[in-house]
Symmetry: C3
Subunit: 344 residues, 3 copies
Amino acid sequence: MEITVKDLASLLNGTIEGDPDLRLTRPGKIEEGGAGVITFLGNAKYEPYLYTTSASAVLVNRNFQPKSPIQATLIRVDDVYACIALLLEKFGAPAPKSSGIHPQSIIHPSAKLGQNISIGPLTIIEEDVEIGDNVYIEAQVFIGRGSKIGADCRFLVGVKILHECSIGDRCLFHPGVVIGADGFGFAPQEDGSYKKINQIGTVVVEDDVEIGANSTVDRASIGSTILRRGVKLDNLVQIAHNVEIGENTVIAAQVGIAGSSKIGKNCQIGGQVAVAGHLKVADGTRVQGKSGVASNVKEPNQALFGYPAIDYHQFIRAHTIFKQLPELAKRLHELEKRLSKNED
Amino acid sequence: MEITVKDLASLLNGTIEGDPDLRLTRPGKIEEGGAGVITFLGNAKYEPYLYTTSASAVLVNRNFQPKSPIQATLIRVDDVYACIALLLEKFGAPAPKSSGIHPQSIIHPSAKLGQNISIGPLTIIEEDVEIGDNVYIEAQVFIGRGSKIGADCRFLVGVKILHECSIGDRCLFHPGVVIGADGFGFAPQEDGSYKKINQIGTVVVEDDVEIGANSTVDRASIGSTILRRGVKLDNLVQIAHNVEIGENTVIAAQVGIAGSSKIGKNCQIGGQVAVAGHLKVADGTRVQGKSGVASNVKEPNQALFGYPAIDYHQFIRAHTIFKQLPELAKRLHELEKRLSKNED
Amino acid sequence: MEITVKDLASLLNGTIEGDPDLRLTRPGKIEEGGAGVITFLGNAKYEPYLYTTSASAVLVNRNFQPKSPIQATLIRVDDVYACIALLLEKFGAPAPKSSGIHPQSIIHPSAKLGQNISIGPLTIIEEDVEIGDNVYIEAQVFIGRGSKIGADCRFLVGVKILHECSIGDRCLFHPGVVIGADGFGFAPQEDGSYKKINQIGTVVVEDDVEIGANSTVDRASIGSTILRRGVKLDNLVQIAHNVEIGENTVIAAQVGIAGSSKIGKNCQIGGQVAVAGHLKVADGTRVQGKSGVASNVKEPNQALFGYPAIDYHQFIRAHTIFKQLPELAKRLHELEKRLSKNED
C-alpha cells in the first residue's frame, strides 16, 4: 500500500503544509519516524517529537499552532483520531477471508450456519447453534448448545460462548473471552456452608460489541445479563450476573461490575474500576481509573474519582490536603498549645 | 416444568396469600414479571416493583409487611434466598447427563477412570490421572499427569489442571480456570536479573469448591496451595503459591491473595480485594470490596475496609472527614489567623 | 534424589552447625518439617518454627543469630533465597524431555521448526511461523501466522500467541497467556458510537521473559508493545498496546499498565497496581501493591504508595493521620469553640 500526501489529504479532507507529492508507505510512531512514514500528533505530550521527527508526514489538528519549525509535511485535519482510524484501515491487514469450514472442527449436524462462514480447526459448535452470514470463527473456539450468533461477527482463538447465549451482529471477541459462565450466587446454610443457586438465565450481547482478551461475562441467575449495542470492553474485565451495560459505554481493562448493577449509556469507565452490586449509574458517567463506585449515580454526565468514588474535583482537592495531613495535624497541635497558653 | 402455587408453597413450607391454583411455568425477574412467572423479593431495593409486577406469584419473607396493595399472589417463606436456590433447582436445566467418552478426546491409557464419566471432545487426560465416579468433563479441558480428581466434579470447557494436583469431590470449575501453574518466585541475582525458583509443590482443592471463569490457583513452591472444603471463588481470582483458604470462605471476582497467606474459615472477601503475602486472616473476617489487607487480622469476625484496610466503621468515619478536608484545612487556617490576631 | 548435609553445604558454599552426615531426601516447609527434609528460614516471620521444626536441616543466612536452641542441623549460606533456587533445581522434576511432534497437532507446512522441538496434541502452528531449537510447546497452544519464536522457550497448555509476534530465547509462558490481541483503541463518532482503530502493530518479547497464567499483552496500534529481557509478569496481568517494560522489571499479579506507558528497568511493581497511560516510570521504581501511578516518575529508585501514588513514607504518614481524622475534626471544632469563647 502506497499513497501520496495529496491523495491522503484529499481522502481525509485535510490541508497540506509541505510537499504534496511525497509517497507514504506505512504508518509509524512520531518518535520513531522514518522515510515514507505517515504519523500523527494526537496527545500533546508527544509535541516535542513533532519538531525532530524524521517521518515524511504528520497528521495534526486543523487549529494546531506549532511552536518551532517542522521538517515534516503537515496534513491538517478536523479530527486526528478519526483520521488515524481511517488510516489504519487503509494500511492495515485486509480483513481475514473466509477459509471455509476446517475439516478438523466439530460441528453438530443440527447447527444452522449462514453464508460465507469461516470456522477454524479444533473449534466446536454444539447442537442447535445458529450462526449468521460472514461470521469468522478462529481455532479452538467453543459455542455451546442453542446459542445464536448474528452476522459479521469475529470470534478469535479460544473464545468460549456457553449455551443459550445471544450475540448480535458485527461483534468482535478476543482470545480467551468467556461468555455465559454461571453467576456467583449461593444461599448461606445454617452450618456455614453455601448452597449453589442455579443460574438459569442467559447473556444477551447486542450489535457492534467488542470484548477484550480473557474477559468474562456471566449468565444471569434469572433473565439476562445484557451488553447493549456498541459496548466496548477491554481485557480481563468481569461482568457479573444480571448486569446491564448501556449503549456505547466503554470499559477499560480489569474493571469489575458486580451483580445486577445497571450502567447507563455513553459512560467511560477507567481501568481497574469496581462498581458494587445492585447500583444504577447514570448515562454519561465518567469514572477515573481504579475508583470504586459504591452508591447510585443519579445525575448524568458526572465525573467520579476515589474509593468510595466522589465528585472528581472534590476528590482531587481532598487528596491534595491528604498528602499534607501530617503537617495539618502538627499545626492543629501547635494551635492547641498556643490557645492553652493564651488561656492561662 | 409446571407447578401450582399450592404445590410450590407446600414444597417451600410457605403460606399463600392469593390464588393457590395458579400455574407457575418459569422463574422470572420481579421487574419483568409475566403470566406464569414465579418471582421473589429478596433485596429491599426491588420492593417498588412488588406493587406493579405482572408476575403470577412472588416469594417474600415470612414477616414482610407490604406498604401498598399487591396484585400477585404471595408465598411467604422463612428464607427467600434459600427458596430461590430450591426453585432454580426445580426449574433449572437438568444436570448434564453422562455422554460417555468422546472419541475425539485424548486419554492416556494409564489414566484410571471411574464409573459414569463424561469426557468432551478435544479434552486431554494425561498419564496416571485418576478420576472418580460421575465426573463430567466438557470439551477442550486439560488434566495433567498424575492429578487426582474426586467424584461428581464438573470441569467446564477449557479448564486446565496441571500435573500432580489433587481435587476433591463435587467441585465445579468454570471455563478457563488454571490450577497448578507455577508460583511467582525468583531469586535476585547480582547483575539485576532474576533466577527462577522451581515450584515443586502442588495444589490441593478439597470437596465442594467452586471456581469462577479464568481464575488462577498457583502451585506451591514447596508443599501445597490449599483450598479447603466449601471454598467459593468468583471469576478472575488469583490465588498465589502456598496460600491456604479456609473452609466455606467466599471470595468475589478479581481478588488477589499473595503468596503464603492463610485466610481463615467463613470469611467473605469482596471483589478486587488484595491480601498481601505471608499474612494470617482470622476466621469470619469480612473485607469490603476493593480493600487491601496489609497486616495480620488476629481477631475473628471483624469487618475491614480501605487500603491499607482498617476497621470498617473507622474507615467510614475517616472517609466522611476526608471528603471535607479542603474545608477543614480552611478552618484551620482561619483559626491560625484569628489566634495570631488575638495574640497581637 | 538424596544428598548429605556435607555435600549440600559444599555445593552451596555453606558452613554446617550439626550433623554433616544426615541424608536429605526432599525440600519441605519449616512449619511442616519431617525426617530427611531440608528447609530454610527466609522470611523472619517464620523464625519461631526454627526452634520447633522436625526438619533434618535448615538453610539460614550466614549472620543469623538464633534466640533459642535448635534441634535441626543448620547450613549457613550467603543468600538463602539464591540457595533455595539451586536447591529446588536439584530436587525439582527434571526439565520435560522433547517428546517430538504429536500426531494430533496441526502444523502448517510453511512453518520452520528448529531441532529437538516438542509440540503437544491439539496445538496449532500457522503459516510462516519460525521456532528455534529446543522449544517445548504443550497441548492446545496456538501460534499465529508469521510469529517468530526463539530457542529454549516453553509455552504451557493453552497459550495463545497471535500473528506476527516476536518472542526471544528461554521464555516461559504459563497456561492461558494471550500475546498480541488488539489494543483497545476507538475513535469517538458524532453519534456517540465508537469506530475501531485497527491495531496493525505487534508484540516483541525479548529473552528470558516469564509470563503468568491468563495474562494478556496487547499488540501495538502502530509499532510494538515491548517486554525487555528478563521481564517477569505474574498471573492475570494486563499490558496494553504500545507499552514498554524495561529489563528485569518484575510485575506481580493483576497489575494493569495502560497504553503507551514506558516502565523503566529493574522496577518492582506490586500486585493490583495500575499505571495510567502515556507515562514514564523511571528505572528502579518500586510501587507498593494496589497503588495507582497517575503521573510520570522522573527520579529513579523511588518507592511509591497510594492512589494516586505518592512517596511511600509520605503515604504511610498521611494514612496514619487519615485514620484519626474524626478525632482531628473534633479537636478542630473544640478549638473553634474555645477561641470564640476567648474572643467574646
